[in-house]
């Protein structure tokens, strides 16, 4: 990280063009200014809220679809072409269509992001569901475990590694799409601010918002996703 900042500083000094590539200290100073004015936190939280909403929706719906397709061959035969089609649908098309059909609303923004991510989650969870251990299914059947208990104690723990992998790649993809959604049709959020400063060609402030949100996502990864993954797989450690 330090090496990256050092390299950035050297290139910025050599380039000598603060409008195209501002130095790290310029970006740091502006970050402080934006933080003190409250602007940065306001827009960061708007983007974070959209990211969380889209993440929860995509993981929930995608997991349910993946589990269904992975355990039901007929459903899989029917659903597979749909999944392939949706996987190849460009994010931009979904966003534009959602804004046209639903309107320039929060619902359209979150739906557009979730729709982009659902096929990816479903594909990963389907792979997980296909590898469910038949011996454990038999055990649960013989011991008469209820459907809820089977799902909670037998099925979901087997899917946890796939869920974790899907979640970690998902959050990275989702926040990038959230930025595009904000860029195209919202009046707040990091994407909206990048749009504003892009029009003013203010590269320093574009960097302030982009780097701040990357930092937030790094914190989410380190403080929430990684510890959760460690907890979910603690039984593997002898």
């Amino acid at each position: 990280m330090l090496a990256f900042v050092l390299l950035w500083a050297i290139v910025a000094v050599i380039a000598g063009s603060p409008n195209t590539l501002p130095a790290p200290w310029t970006v740091a100073r502006l970050t402080l200014v934006e933080t003190l004015s409250g602007e940065l936190l306001f827009h960061l939280s708007a983007t974070l809220a959209r990211t969380i909403a889209a993440f929860v929706l995509a993981m929930g719906i995608g997991s349910a679809i993946g589990l269904w397709l992975g355990t039901d061959k007929r459903a899989d035969a029917w659903g597979d072409p749909w999944l392939v089609g949706l996987l190849n649908l460009p994010a931009l098309v979904t966003i534009v269509l959602c804004y046209i059909w639903i309107g320039l609303t929060e619902v359209a923004a979150i739906a557009a992001v979730a729709i982009n991510k659902i096929p990816l989650v479903a594909t990963q969870m389907r792979e997980g569901a296909r590898t469910l251990e038949p011996a454990l299914r038999d055990m649960a059947h013989v011991f008469g475990m209820s459907r809820g208990a089977r799902l909670r104690h037998v099925v979901l723990p087997q899917l946890a590694p796939h869920f974790a992998a899907s979640g970690r790649t998902g959050i990275a993809l989702i926040w990038k799409i959230v930025l595009v959604v904000e860029f195209l049709g919202r009046s707040n959020g990091v994407g909206f601010m990048i749009h504003q400063y892009f029009q003013l060609f203010d590269v320093a402030r574009v960097l302030v918002y982009a780097i701040s949100f990357v930092a937030v996502m790094l914190l989410v990864e380190m403080l929430i996703l990684q510890p959760w993954q460690r907890h979910a797989t603690r039984w593997r450690r002898p």
Binding site: A135, L136, D138, M139, A140, H141, V142, F143, M145, A149, H153, V154, P157, A160, A232, W235, R236, P238
Partner: protein
């Protein structure tokens, strides 16, 4: 309990044919026969895991099974494995862990256990169901002789304290001679009961000489 299997096939191949058994509530039936003859298939039918057969199984009561592999939930502690699958209380689980000689294993995860220990937990889980019918599929396979003998003695102790109807699948006549009150030998193609032997005394009362004598006749 009544088991009636008129026909069980895998595709075109008929595996089991015309098997009719009546097993009393305290009987211990051993199913002997070579590998691949259909013993485990018969057990899966009794357990309700295989429904693609002609016939029926009635009056089995509450069923529990110890599988060939221990099939414990690896992400749950040993105690949770007993309570979550059988709805027994933590106190009952601890008492059973004590009974199988692993009183301190409750908080451990299954991947820290040896195969022999995991099999004992699997047996404890089966008894935690308070079963009317206990199904055992090669419960001593892949254990060394000493561990197998220990587990066999443990099974007899558990059955004395928690009586149940027992159906044991094995290819080892020694296990049948030590545990069973009735020994059925499956054979032929498709498999059917070729030999049936009722053993008079209780397995707990058999001494080594009697077991060796039985072995020659099974």
């Amino acid at each position: 309990m009544k088991i009636r299997i008129t026909r069980k096939a895998w595709g075109e191949a008929v595996i089991l044919r015309d098997i009719t058994l009546e097993i009393g509530p305290r009987e211990a039936v051993a199913l002997l026969g070579p590998s691949g003859i259909g013993k485990s298939t018969l057990l899966r039918i009794v357990a309700g895991l295989d429904t693609g057969f002609e016939g029926n199984v009635t009056d089995a009561g509450r069923i529990a099974m110890a599988f060939q592999e221990p099939t414990l939930l690896p992400w749950r502690s040993v105690r949770d494995n007993l309570t979550l699958t059988t709805n027994c209380t933590p106190g009952e689980a601890d008492a059973l862990l004590q009974a199988v000689g692993l009183p301190d294993a409750g908080a451990r995860f299954p991947n820290t256990l040896s195969l022999g220990q995991a099999r004992r937990i699997s047996l404890a889980r089966a008894f935690a169901m308070r079963p009317d019918t206990l199904l055992l599929d090669e419960p001593f396979a892949s254990l060394d002789r000493e561990a197998a003998a220990r587990m066999l003695a443990l099974l007899l102790d558990l059955l004395r304290d928690h009586p149940a109807r027992l159906i044991l699948v094995t290819h080892d006549p020694m296990e049948a001679a030590r545990l069973a009150t009735r020994v059925l030998t499956l054979g032929g193609t498709p498999a059917t009961v070729q030999r049936e032997r009722h053993l008079d005394e209780s397995p707990a009362d058999r001494d080594e000489a009697r077991i060796m004598q039985l072995l020659t006749t099974l």
